[in-house]
Symmetry: C2
Subunit: 751 residues, 2 copies
């Protein structure tokens, strides 16, 4: 506290000396809205329905808050609790009120912001750290600095909007008692929070930088952009999620945060759920820099990665606009979230006016109150929007794009979507699931990624924070649709190890809409073990819907037990194999996620054959057809063991197990085929089209699989295991027949 | 077969003699569409979008069938199988093609119907009984007569439409080889099917009656209306569902079927799912009779019960238009089903043009191709539709309205709906669940009725028929939200006993929108045991949503074990009591449905207190607050034990158990309170408003419960146990304070 007082006193001096000189040099507002923008907006009011509706919505919210009065309570609660939610509502409302003051030129909004800021300025100097002690970086208004940074990012905008309306004395009061100490607390006061490559720091950097821009305080802006020069953080320090604080190259600050976690393709290494969260400070600070420090050329940084990342994020959505659940992610988060309204509007405005973004804006039904929002509203009003098209795409991971990646395969009409993951670890929010996938039909998950075990902002569930089952289940490999060796997770489920490695793309080819294919290799998840997985979305016209063909090849030095889970969602319809249902349910294992699965039944195969399993989900039918051999098993499981608090959903899983095997080959077809209507009570194509699959060739160089199905389908799929050159010619004789093709695979009629 | 041939030969004679005389006396078409109607329709073509769209839809379907060619396969499969689905598609298409011929005057449709009918006429005389043997009344085209009757109901209409276009010779061929033997097979050939009070017979009656009307064969029409005079059915014969074939009064035929199962309020005793199925033959035959035998006054029969029942059926839907799951019912069936399009259109046309039905028609998006459909389209076109309003209502059960009933309580905006059942058994589709309820919010089930265990028309699941778990689980009392005594079902789960009894209404009062209430008594479900349940939907304005207050009073001669299950849907959020989670899951019992529940945990109460349980479903929060006493238990259960085929969903249940108790009082509040958005990640009112409930008075005459909650709520609810007179004055002193009120209950501030 004593040190804090001295620092505070120095700031008083600093502000008194510096502010007068700068106050006139900087125009306000200049962050998310400009003087010129305000004039343009006022001219168009009443002309652009989407903008007018958005303005009216904001006005209704803010007017309601104004009439219910200001409350700035002493901080006390975790998220979900009153003081947390109140301070959150306060910063959201102040930011809106600031914009309303500018756009509507109605002083009551400026008064509201001022009065609330004054209450914060009165309280802030009296606060010590927040009483809740769980965070590695406790805040003052909130239990973690992250939320304090949220507060400042929004409040800076509010302050910017009423800056010129305030008296110099009022500004001095606010800056001395509130903003400057607030910015210092978040930066020099919390280097572990501020000086790292992480979405937390992005918020911290943006907060400090934005208030720095408003106050025209270049020292803060420099810290925000380039980090603290000296932070004294121990090299192995970790945060609450178990992630490292320091990165190897030691860079920090906003530009480093922009450089590091985004790949050149605009993929954010933590995954779309956190990208959507990080997007807001990235874009809002970038916009502020664009306006106030145009010379930085922030939107052009790293080949315009920021604007590119908006498109990437939109591509990482299902047909409903929900983000794919990858790594830690709460399901249901979608491009309807407010940070995506900002992202879409800014991307449209600063990124070349891609008219398909207008289509998203129409669905969002609102725009931000700024020059960018107005341009979007104008575009929509002029009917220039064209459909936003989701495509089959490949996204590299890693700052240089060389740390694996993520692929999305989509059927022509976007009805079927396969998401395949071969990324790097994804920082502290990463899960241990190399070469895993999930499958969507019409915006419904069919084969799921569990997501995270956290009920965000539902206080009754552990304060709305990550629950321990996030580590014991959601992050574990068995919770995903990928291979588990000897009941242990990839990289032993250890962040230190996982962070060192990434999978590698073998090849990706979506150029042929009939056979779209992704293939990747993982060599480090288990010691002396190589996993090579190839997934193809194959369209056979007479089958109505495409099917997914899956080859997973494992090579190990020693015999092991392999489990390949299928986390299907829905109601089992038919089992094409014998199994014994379990009368009493016991956990399948004791650790690494297995302790959470109840074993419901077990099928043991006596000879080489095909095992099939059909289920129904959201009135659609699906069938898995898998090649099984003697002594292999199918385990029927259900989540919920060792979960006394019901933190987990009771979702089903079916696990294909091969024991005492060195090299293994998992080959299967996942097939959506038909639908049911509870209104007409008609079942269409309720049965699988696939009749038989068989491995007819398998050595270190090639795998050949025969696929037989309805309508006289008799095809062969051959994969070259070690040669991914797309122009390479192959010749291979199988059962006396010569097959010739070019590139790493062929799918053709069987000879 | 020999007998059949003789009968057939006699018919040839009969037809040769009778047809010439009648052919000219009867105009065609005259069933669902009339000559005059056709003229009117043709005049309006192109003018009424809803009609034109409907016509176009039908045309597209029929044209596609015509171009893919006629197939009349030899019957072989159960429902879901090819021949079943093909014959079904055939009759649906013929009926449509017949109407298209009339409306569009395009001969290709008549040709299509004729050619298909000729193929049926060729095949029919060669058929013996359908090879699948499961039905108590096997059909010829289908595995059960019921489906054969469906065929004839539809095909009669097709024949009616092309009757005059056919040559006399063609008509004779069809009638001698197909229609007459078909009608005889369904009637005299299958008295157990034809001559009972059951939806099967309704279809049979309509089928025989309608073809009788087309052929102007009064003998068939008489059989259809009044049944077979002599059927030789043994008094105790049963059908596949375990229902009795014969009723006590021995009446049969269409009019008896219309009289018996419908109460004067238009409630159909089997429940809405089967009512919607039965509706079609009821209405389509009624319409045919209205046109061809106007002197019968069929729509005025029993105080216009048929038209009244359409309104009742529409009231028995949730906010999405899905029918409440009562007795055997497949969820998801809604007023979008085609029989409801017919019902709504006919009800509008013949029932006084209630413009709120136009609102439903708009949502259905189509009308039937007839005079009635055209009038609906006209009404919609003239914008006269007004919202269809669902109300709190009470429906009596039983032909005379004196066999208990069903009540629906709804909040003002229809957002919360309570369905409370105190009906008679509901024939063979009835479940053993007196005084049970289900709760809906915004069209989502929150506290569910399981529905039936049947995957209709999904062949892989037992041929699409009832599965054995329908008896072992769905019909059992423990599968419902009502009291189970000593782990046995009401009436010992025995149809013979259950059919004799019904519950009795104590009182219903929805006149006060703040306190809507239903109370009923059941005295026969268990020997020497009386159950009296009262449920109130109470609106406290500051609470945002109403809550449901529930008092269940049991009086028994001997001590017993009482279980009151809550079949909630969703994710548990918080348990307000201590419990022990079970490490290994075992079935809760061995019979009466208990064998299907896995015990997941158990809470034992040590003293009198309130137990609470909160959960989240479809992003809404709910809390149960229950009064518990020493030694009572809460059992946490999950469906799925002894279900090796996964015929059951893995749904959760929580059971309040009182052991060794003679007279018991279950008092609880079920409270919807708040919502969650995965997009904003905000939880609103995530916690219960109820703070404490306590029984402060309890004797044979009165029960008094204190309800304390947020915002200083302190109320008392007093129920008079034996005096349901609404004008009766009561005076009662509780804890020294005098309460005075009029009627069977009071809800007022505590003194």
């Amino acid at each position: 506290m004593c040190m804090n007082r001295i620092v505070q006193a120095l700031h008083v001096l600093y502000l008194l000396v510096l502010i007068p000189g700068h106050a006139s040099s900087q125009e306000h507002p200049s962050l998310t809205i400009t003087k010129e923008g305000v004039v343009n907006i006022q001219r168009e009011l009443g002309e652009l329905p989407l903008f007018d509706v958005s303005l009216e919505q904001v006005k209704v919210q803010v007017d309601a808050e104004i009439s219910s009065g200001i409350d700035v309570p002493i901080p006390k609660d975790y998220s979900g609790g009153y003081t947390h939610e109140r301070h959150k509502l306060n910063y959201l409302t102040m930011q809106k009120a600031g914009l309303l003051y500018q756009v509507l030129d109605d002083e009551k909004y400026a008064i509201y912001v001022r009065d609330m800021l004054m209450q914060y300025a009165d309280m802030y100097p009296t606060l010590s750290l927040h009483p809740k002690e769980r965070s590695y970086a406790r805040g003052k208004l909130f239990w973690q600095c992250l939320n304090d940074a949220n507060w400042l990012v929004y409040t800076s905008q509010a302050y910017d909007c009423i800056y010129e309306w305030l008296s110099k004395k009022q500004r001095q009061d606010l800056e001395i008692n509130l903003f400057r100490p607030f910015a210092d607390f978040l930066s020099t006061g919390n280097p572990k929070f501020f000086n790292r490559i992480h979405n937390h720091s992005t918020w911290g950097n943006a907060a400090v930088g934005m208030i720095g821009l408003v106050m025209d305080d270049d020292e803060l802006v420099q810290k925000a952009l380039y980090g603290l020069p000296d932070d004294n953080i121990e090299p192995n320090a970790k945060d609450n999620d178990g992630g490292f604080i320091k990165t190897e190259n030691g860079k920090s600050g906003f530009l480093a945060n922009l450089d590091e976690p985004f790949s050149p393709d605009g993929y954010y290494t933590e995954g779309p759920y956190y990208q959507r969260y990080a997007m807001y400070p990235f874009l809002i600070f970038a916009q502020s820099l664009h306006n106030a420090r145009p010379e930085l050329g922030i939107f052009e940084f790293k080949d315009s990665v920021l604007l590119k990342s908006v498109n990437t994020l939109l591509q990482l959505t299902d047909k409903n606009g929900d983000f794919f659940a990858l790594n830690d992610a709460q399901k249901g988060m979608s491009y309807q979230t407010s940070s995506l309204v900002t992202a879409v509007d800014l991307s449209y405005y600063y990124g070349g006016k891609d008219t398909s973004l207008l289509h998203i804006a129409e669905q969002q039904g609102k725009v931000i109150l700024s020059d960018a929002g107005m341009e979007v509203a104008k575009g929509v009003n002029q009917n220039t929007s064209r459909p936003f098209k989701r495509k089959s795409m490949q996204f590299s991971d890693g700052a240089n794009g060389k740390q694996g990646g993520l692929s999305v395969l989509r059927s022509k009409d976007e009805s079927l979507t396969l998401v395949f993951k071969y990324t790097a670890q994804g920082l502290s929010h990463g899960h241990y699931d190399k070469l895993s996938y999930s499958l969507y039909e019409q915006g419904n998950e069919v084969v799921q990624d569990y997501g995270m075990v956290r009920y965000v902002n539902i206080e009754q569930k552990g304060g709305g924070n990550y629950l321990k089952e996030n580590n014991t289940w959601a992050k574990q490999t068995i919770a995903h649709n990928t291979l588990v060796k000897d009941e242990t997770s990839h990289f032993q489920g250890t962040y230190e190890i996982g962070s060192k490695y990434h999978s590698n793309l073998y090849f990706f080819d979506a150029s042929n809409s009939k056979v779209q294919i992704i293939s990747a290799v993982e060599s480090n998840a288990y010691t002396d073990t190589q996993m090579h997985r190839t997934m193809a979305m194959i369209e056979e016209e007479t089958y109505g819907k495409p099917f997914v063909f899956d080859i997973l090849r494992v090579n190990s030095q020693k015999p092991a037990k392999y489990d390949l889970p299928l986390h299907y969602l829905g109601q089992p319809i038919q089992f094409g194999f014998d199994y014994q249902a379990t009368a009493t349910l016991e956990p399948l294992g004791t650790a690494n996620g297995y302790q959470h699965i109840f074993l419901e039944g077990k099928g043991q195969f006596r000879k080489k054959s095909n095992a099939t399993f059909s289920w129904m989900h959201q009135n659609h039918f699906y069938t898995l057809t898998t090649i099984v051999s003697q002594n292999e098993q199918f385990l029927l499981g259900r989540l919920g063991a060792n979960d006394p608090q019901y933190n987990l959903r009771r979702d089903p899983v079916i696990i294909h197990r091969k024991e005492k095997t060195k090299d293994a080959l998992f080959v299967s077809i996942m097939e959506p085929h038909g639908s049911y209507s509870p209104v007409t009570e008609m079942a269409k194509n309720a049965k699988s089209n696939i009749e038989h699959i068989e491995i007819i060739y398998n050595n270190k160089d090639y795998i050949g699989v025969q696929i037989k199905g309805k309508n006289w389908l008799d095809k062969i799929f051959i994969l070259a295991n070690t040669e991914n050159d797309k122009s390479k010619k192959h010749r291979l004789t199988i059962n006396g027949k010569l097959y010739e093709w070019v590139g790493p695979y062929t799918y053709q009629n069987k000879k």
